[in-house]
Structures are given as structure tokens and as C-alpha cells.
Symmetry: C2
Subunit: 472 residues, 2 copies
């Protein structure tokens, strides 16, 4: 192949992203602005993410449930900051069954209000606590600048909601879920993330604290991959969630919420993808190994099927591509585009030599391995590729995280991308100035010594160390 | 327990249904009319249904995908019968992001229109066919008489959509999925169903043929458990889905759709439930075995945990109920309500005698088994219970399916419930008369000799044999 299938990343990263989403058949724009059609390859990735995340969430003791899509407007209005934060993004149903509704229904942008309404009914005693629920569903937030997976009007996600007896336990849960998310990003998505608390200006509407996992894309922009919110007593007061403690005293509970979405797929594309397409971590690759049957000869077909059975027997998600009516080159390019971690090429020549060709997607290296050991060799490669992708992501993030102590210098360098460690005073005013002057935002507070004694923006005494960068 | 926890079925079946849904903590009404909150026990059942059905659907070669929640009104209007059928049930979004929308968006009542729009883009050649997709999502149909699980404004379901080269292949797919559904109902839900084609009056809006699985509830009413539609060329013409055949000739494709929903849970409740609560088929029971630890003595706790490990090792979904601060009686009643197939009662007395008490939920029989064989005995019971529930469902349906040849007699007997085999002329007029006079509908056409030479309703020559009954 001489012609590039995708716009090169270095030439135009957003165009590369659009190309790879289309050419790898991950998703397309839906008919209504900002909506998305997730095609089978993209959805199969989502199912693998979901299954893995679901197992981790259930491991914390949370149970799955379902709550309604439509939320009465009056529910949203019960928590003042919450409704202020979400109002500009709402989709509103005004007609149902051919008639105008007495009260407009909001299509859920998130479910805190309705879930906490039911928490108030279900929680009576300290014995009912903690109550931990998780919902897999779709939510709608009106987007002015939609982008597939990253920012769509409707997206698929999980939202966790928990009630606890004390504020301290809510804080603990918020941090526990942040850690669940961090490990998921690293172990499953092979993405290295910075974790920390959001500044007040970037907090979830109605939360006392928001914690985030921030990843660094290959174009140097940050992406928020998941958030965990300590809602303190805010929703418990708004919805009057009370329980009687061991002494029979009635107390307000404390709540949390936490979520991750199809946006993670966008992050995975932009962290691992290269000019040849996706590079999927084996943990979430719908096909971990594709056997590319080169010709239609009986011997080749038999050997390919034998190898397929061997790989499946090893627990490897295997696909046999026997479309010999399509050219070998086109099929290779397609599987590269789709990010399949390992390809095994098998034809008459390989049968004669007794060696199959193994191709790694991550570094595109090829090796010839004895046919009778090919399945085990491919299976072993999967772990290696998972580790290599994570190592590359961590190295990239570390190499592109630099301290900065001068605002002018930062303003010049920010367009090159990357994350910047800076001292920050903690004032709202400084966040505004930072954004207006540089287009960058505080991604999160981090647990590190500040690189300077005074705030990057205001020169006031440093109160926090923060990671700053431009973000999706 | 002397006081009945539930309204007895014989006294008031709808009240019994409401009671069991509430007391088994399956679901509650949502805040907006007709909406539903599915609680963890209900949702865990749904997850097991989903996983099993998903495996069967993927086994036919269909792939999962996701399509948008919002459908432009203009899409619905492309297929005339479709929009006529669904218009009265639509929820309409008129405002988004704080502004009135130029074109109102419909919250999908089903996704034929949007899916077929994309089919037209994706299908070019006969090599692209068949194209078979399945979506797990939520849909909204405005309901005037909502009832939890059975008829809710929003429900969870799977909707399959397929494109084929020929009409004959679409018919074949329609029947294949009907068979997948029938086997699922029987093997997994342990529900015996009648299968057959719907009459024209009960057809899906826009279909050439609709096939259905009809189950018989314990109150004698029928419930449509799943449907499979041959859409023929209707949607392919409306959305111009064309492919070039092997000779390069451009042809219209043929399509199908098929769906099952959370309604199946309602069916399961009403087919298997009794005056003590749910009776879950082991295949979809979140806990297949509950170990009821009677006292808090160390020896009891150790033995209970040992048994739990043994059962889990046998692949049984096991729950250890060690809430010894709650009375044994209350806990027994709770697990009966929730329909757990097998209970093992274990306390100091059982340890002394070396025999645990096994309780079957289906027939409520108790047996004492040696402690060291209790896990295997419980596991073996699961298969037996699954079979027994199905056999009871089949027996009930068979015993309550009777031929009828006289309309007056039918009108008298229909209120007692059951399914009636009748001869039918096939005219629309006769369906209308039947409904108005008896409140019954034709559930489906069946492949059997008519019980009389002339139509039950009109006296015209019989064209079909049909099953008639009142339905949910």
C-alpha cells in the first residue's frame, strides 16, 4: 500500500481521528445533530469495556438497577447548583401520546435527582446503609460542538450512586471508586492517567468534591476519562434522605456518584492509535488474533481452521478471515485499521516452510514461528502487547508532563500540548484568567510539591500543585 | 407466618401481581406516569435473561450495535403504515439546549426507520448481505394504562434488524428468530408458549407478517412474550435499500425485525408465581441457592461458609444469608417472596444431627440431607426445578386450551380465562366483532385443523385455525 488510508496524525490530528473512527467502522454521526450510531466493531469494544468495568464495580458491593429516562423538571430543581449546572444542556419532552404534558419531562442528563428521591424512600435505618447502586444507561446533554465518542448529545455510560451513614464514608467511597477507575484505565485500557481532585470551577454541579482520571492524548491534549463525586449532604438534604442511627437518632445521610462513558473509547483511540489506525489493547479487542488465510487451497483452509480451534482452546478471541476473494493487502490494511493486536498470516508458502508469520499491531514487527507453536506464541504476545501499550502511554505522559513557573512562557508553550505542573493560589479569578489567556484549564490538583512558591497566574502564595493543559 | 404477605391470587390477581412486584423488590413506579424503577433484584433477573438471550442471538450471526434515542419525525413518516401505527404513542422532544428545535425529535418507539436509513448506506453489494444487527436499548411508547413490566411508557428490550437479498430469506430469518425466542421461553424462562402468525389486525405497523410467542398466565389471560416481523420490501422501498446482485443488477433488499423486552419478567411472574411470591426458574435466578444461617454460633457460621464455597465451586450462584439479627421466619418469607429456587437451612440443630434441611421453592417440600452431600443435592435440585416449572407451565397451557365452535358459548366462557381454538374466516370485520362482543383477541394463527368448518364469528367458511383469548 502506498497511499495512506488515513490523514497522518502529524498533519491534522482531528482529521486523523475522524478518519479512523469512520474507516475502522467504529461509529457514524446519527441523523439528529450530536447523536451517534455505534457500529458493531465499536460496540463490541464497548461490550468488553462494560463487562470488565461491571465486574470491578460489582466487586465493590454495588448492585445494578435501572431508573427512568424521563425526569420531572421539578426533581432537577430541588438541588440548586445541580439545576443551574445542567439547565443549558437539557433536552425536554413537552408532548406525549399526542397531548401537551402538564409538566415537561427532562431527558436525564444524569440521574442524581431521581435516584436520591428513591434513596429517601428506601433508606430508613443505619442497617440499610451503605446502599450502593450502579446504572448502565444512556443520557442526553445538548452539545454545541459534538464529536464522536468524545462529546455526543446522547452517550452510553455507567453512573454509580451510593448512600452512606457519614460524610467520611462518602469521601472514602468517592476515593475507592476513583481507584477502581484508575486501575481499569491502566490495566484494561492500557492508559496511564493522572488522578486528583478537580478545582471548584470544574466540579460536578452539586458536588462538594470531584475527583478525576486525566489521560494525555497523542496530540498533547488532555481527556477526562472518568469522575467520582463526593456529594456530601447536598442531595441528602435536597431529597431528605434520613436514617435512624444505632441510638435511634434521625440523621441525614451522605451520598456519592461516579461515572465513566463511551468517551473512554475516544480516549483509547487517541492514546494508542497511529497512522495505520487503531491499536487495541488485547483486553478489549473483539478479535485478539485474526488468522489471515491467504489462499483458498484445501490445505491452507484446514490449517487455518486447526489454528483457530487451537487459539480458541487457549481462551483467545480468534477470528478466521477466509475471504480469499478479497486481496490479501486490503484485508491486512483493514485489520490494522481495526487495531487487532495480532495477525497470523497463513498460506501455501507458510505450510511448505512449516512457519507462520506473526504480525504485532503495536510495533508492526513480523516474525516467523513454527506452525505447531503459533497458537501459543500468539497467545503469549497478547500479554506483551497489553504491557507495551501501557508502558508507551505512561512514558508519553511522563515525558509530556513538565513544570512551569512563568505564565508568559506557559502561554507560548501550551499550544504544543502536554500537561504542565504549576503552583496555584486556588482563586476562581485565577482559573478564569488562565482559561481566557491560554485556552488551558486546571485538569486536577495533584499530590506533589509546587514547582514555585507563588501562583503561576496571580503571584499569590501557592495553595496547591495543579496539572494544567488544553483538553477535549 | 399466619398473616398472608400477598393478596391471594384467587382473590384478586392484579392485586397479587402488584404485591409481589413490590414485596419481592422487583420494581416500583417511576416519578413520571408509566415509568419504572427496576430494583436490584429485578435488574439482576434482567441481566441473566439478557446474557442468555444475547448468546442465542449472537449464535445466529447477528452483531450488537447502538442507534440513537432521538429520531427525526421525518424518518418515521417515510413508511406510511409505520407512522400511522406509532403516532398515538410518541413522546416528542421540542426543546434542546435551551432552544426550540427546528424539527421535533421523537424518542424512539422502535428503531426500524433509523436502522433502515443506515442499512441503505452500508449495503451496496450482495456480498454485504445478510446484514444482521441487534440493539439492547430503551424505547418509549406512551401508555394510558401502565403496569409494571407488562406495559410501561419506557421499557428495556432488544430489537433485531436484518437485511437480506431475497424475500424468501427474510421469511426464513423471521421464522428462525421466532424459533430462537420459543426455545428461550421454554428452556430459560421455563414457560410453554404457543407460536404462530398474528392476524392482519394485530400485525406490527409496516410488516407483511408478524409472528408471536404467546404464553398463558395463571389468571387465564394471554401475554405476548416476543414477536418477529417479516418487513418484506416495505422498509427497503421506503429507505431505498438496494444492492447489486451477482450479475450486477440493482435490487431492493428485504428486511426483518424482532424483539423481546422486560415484559418477559412480567410473564415469568404471572406464569410461575404463587401465593407465597415469585418462583424463579433456576436459569434466571440471581441466587440459585440461599444458605439460611439460623444462628450466630461459630460452628454454624463456619459450616455455612464451607457450604457456600462448595456450592460456588459447583458453579451454583449462591448467597449466604448470615443476618442472624433478623428472625429466621422473616428471612424465610423474604427468600420465598423473591423466588429463590432452593434454600438450605443450617443451624446448631442441623450440625448436631449432621443433616441440613433443603427446601424447594417450587413445591415447598423439605428434605433432610447429609451435610457433606448438601451442596451436590442442592445443585441437582436446580435442574429438577427448572424442568418441573416448565412441565407445570405446559400442563397448565394445555389444560386451558380448548376448542370452541359457538360464539355465545365462547362469550360465556371467555371470562374464565384460557385459550380457545377456533375456526376463523380471516376477515377484519370478524376480528372487530370478536373484540367488541367478548373482549378477546386473536392471539395467533396455529397450524392445526379447525374445530369447525365455519368461522366462529361470521359463519363464513373457515380459512384458519386460531387461538383466541383475553390478553394483557
Amino acid at each position: 500500500m502506498t497511499r495512506a488510508v488515513l490523514t497522518p496524525q502529524a498533519e491534522d490530528f482531528p482529521a486523523w481521528y475522524q478518519d479512523v473512527v469512520a474507516r475502522a467502522e467504529l461509529a457514524e454521526n446519527g441523523p439528529a445533530r450530536g447523536s451517534m450510531v455505534v457500529r458493531p466493531w465499536g460496540y463490541a469494544i464497548w461490550e468488553l469495556l462494560q463487562a470488565d468495568m461491571d465486574r470491578r464495580i460489582k466487586g465493590t458491593g454495588a448492585l445494578n438497577a435501572a431508573f427512568p429516562l424521563f425526569v420531572p423538571m421539578s426533581f432537577l430543581e430541588k438541588e440548586k447548583q445541580h439545576v443551574e449546572g445542567f439547565s443549558p444542556e437539557l433536552a425536554v419532552v413537552t408532548h406525549g401520546g399526542g397531548e401537551q404534558l402538564a409538566e415537561p419531562l427532562v431527558v436525564r442528563p444524569t440521574s442524581e435527582t431521581v435516584v436520591n428521591h428513591y434513596f429517601a424512600r428506601w433508606v430508613q435505618s443505619h442497617r440499610d446503609l451503605p446502599l450502593m447502586l450502579n446504572l448502565w444507561n444512556n443520557v442526553v446533554r445538548w452539545e454545541l460542538r459534538p464529536r464522536l465518542f468524545l462529546r455526543t448529545t446522547e452517550f452510553l455510560w455507567q453512573e454509580g450512586h451510593t448512600v452512606h451513614a457519614t460524610y467520611a464514608e462518602a469521601v472514602e467511597e468517592t476515593r475507592r471508586m476513583l481507584e477502581v477507575y484508575r486501575r481499569f484505565m491502566e490495566e484494561t485500557l492500557a492508559i496511564s492517567v493522572a488522578v486528583g481532585e478537580k478545582s471548584a470551577g470544574e466540579r460536578f454541579a452539586g458536588a462538594d468534591q470531584t475527583f478525576t482520571c486525566e489521560a494525555l492524548m497523542r496530540d498533547g491534549k488532555a481527556l477526562q476519562m472518568g469522575t467520582s463525586h463526593n456529594l456530601g449532604h447536598n442531595f441528602a438534604r435536597a431529597f431528605d434522605i434520613r436514617y435512624s442511627d444505632a441510638d435511634g437518632v434521625s440523621r441525614h445521610a451522605a451520598t456519592t456518584s461516579w461515572g465513566t462513558s463511551t468517551r473512554m473509547i475516544g480516549g483509547m483511540i487517541m492514546v494508542h492509535g497511529d497512522d495505520h489506525g487503531l491499536r487495541l489493547p488485547p483486553a478489549v479487542a473483539p478479535h485478539q488474533v485474526v488468522i489471515l488465510q491467504i489462499d483458498a487451497q484445501q490445505g491452507t483452509a484446514d490449517a487455518a481452521r486447526h489454528l483457530e480451534a487451537e487459539l480458541s482452546g487457549l481462551g483467545v478471541r480468534t477470528h478466521l478471515d477466509a475471504r480469499t476473494h478479497t486481496s490479501f493487502g486490503r484485508r491486512s490494511v483493514d485489520w490494522e485499521l481495526k487495531g487487532v493486536p495480532v495477525r497470523i498470516e497463513l498460506g501455501a508458502r507458510e505450510l511448505t516452510s512449516g512457519r507462520a508469520t506473526l504480525v504485532r499491531r503495536d510495533d508492526r514487527s513480523k516474525s516467523a514461528v513454527p506452525l505447531d507453536g503459533a497458537a501459543r506464541a500468539a497467545a503469549a504476545l497478547l500479554d506483551e502487547i497489553q504491557r507495551a501499550l501501557f508502558a508507551a502511554s505512561r512514558r508519553f505522559r511522563e515525558e509530556h508532563t513538565v513544570p512551569v513557573t512563568d505564565l508568559d512562557e506557559f502561554a507560548r508553550r501550551v499550544a504544543d500540548g502536554g500537561l504542565f505542573l504549576a503552583a496555584w493560589s486556588g482563586t476562581e479569578e485565577s482559573e478564569r484568567i488562565l482559561r481566557e489567556r491560554t485556552g488551558a484549564t486546571i485538569r486536577c490538583l495533584v499530590d506533589a510539591d509546587p514547582p514555585a512558591p507563588t501562583c503561576l497566574v496571580t503571584g499569590l502564595p501557592a495553595a496547591h500543585t495543579v496539572l494544567i493543559g488544553r483538553a477535549y
